[in-house]
Amino acid sequence: MGKKQEPARNSTQRKYVKEVNRRAPRPPVLRNVILAFVTGGTVCVVGQAFTDFYAWLMDLTPQEAGNPAVATMILIGALLTGFGVFDKLAKVAGAGLAVPVTGFANSVVASALEFKKEGLVFGVGGKMFQLAGAVIVFGVVTAFIVGLISALLP
């Protein structure tokens, strides 16, 4: 996302870079945020539709139906990444696609594909959680502390 500016080598270049940065349009934050809101909301509405569908299909409570709905969204995120569509959508949607579980699926598949050439074990298996691993690690550590506090508090 953030493009790195080449380091300037002499003062003319440095001045030029400064001038370019000064005149460069500010990142269209408001536009990005609105797009993220609309696309993220839409992803959640789709997730809600799957939740209701599974609740109806398998006679589940809404809580139970959340699980297959999450799995379906992960499958969709994985397939969109496989077809190379996810990145194009994410260019517009930004956090609207990255923050829902679709983004989690995307980071898993993108890493697995990127390192596929290193083989099934070291590449796909070993690198699959290169990005998503952090989410799992910090989630588990947080949950461990939260669980411990709840176990020790009366």
Partner: protein, 119 residues
């Protein structure tokens, strides 16, 4: 219908917050998603995430913060039953679906497809 409006607004708002952090801070997407997961776990501990799910449905279960919530919920539920050891045994009780789906679908999609672009 009301459930869909709530899902759209709450889910959209969580994503919009992520976009604000992306655009106005130096944090990488990895930092922000990890932060959302931690926030979900903390909100679970405070007993605030479940009410949000009740209200917003998928608007709260689809964002990655729900992963942190589900981890903490699993740990706390087992801990309530079996004491401290339950923190370990219950950790993945509720998140098994998400992690298994990500591994299995990720694996097969990586087998079937090849990287796009580049060489």
């Amino acid at each position: 219908m009301g459930q869909y409006v709530a899902a759209f607004v709450v889910g959209g708002a969580i994503c919009a917050l992520g976009q604000v952090l992306l655009d106005t801070t130096k944090f990488s997407p990895g930092h922000i998603l990890s932060g959302f997961t931690v926030a979900g776990g903390v909100l679970a501990g405070l007993g605030l995430y479940e009410p949000l799910i009740k209200f917003a449905g998928a608007g709260a279960t689809m964002p990655i913060s729900s992963f942190g919530n589900a981890l903490a919920q699993g740990a706390m539920k087992e801990a309530a039953k079996n004491g401290v050891i339950g923190v370990l045994t219950g950790m993945f009780e509720l998140t098994s679906t998400g992690i298994t789906a990500a591994i299995v679908f990720g694996f097969f999609v990586a087998l079937i497809f090849n990287p796009k672009g580049g060489k």
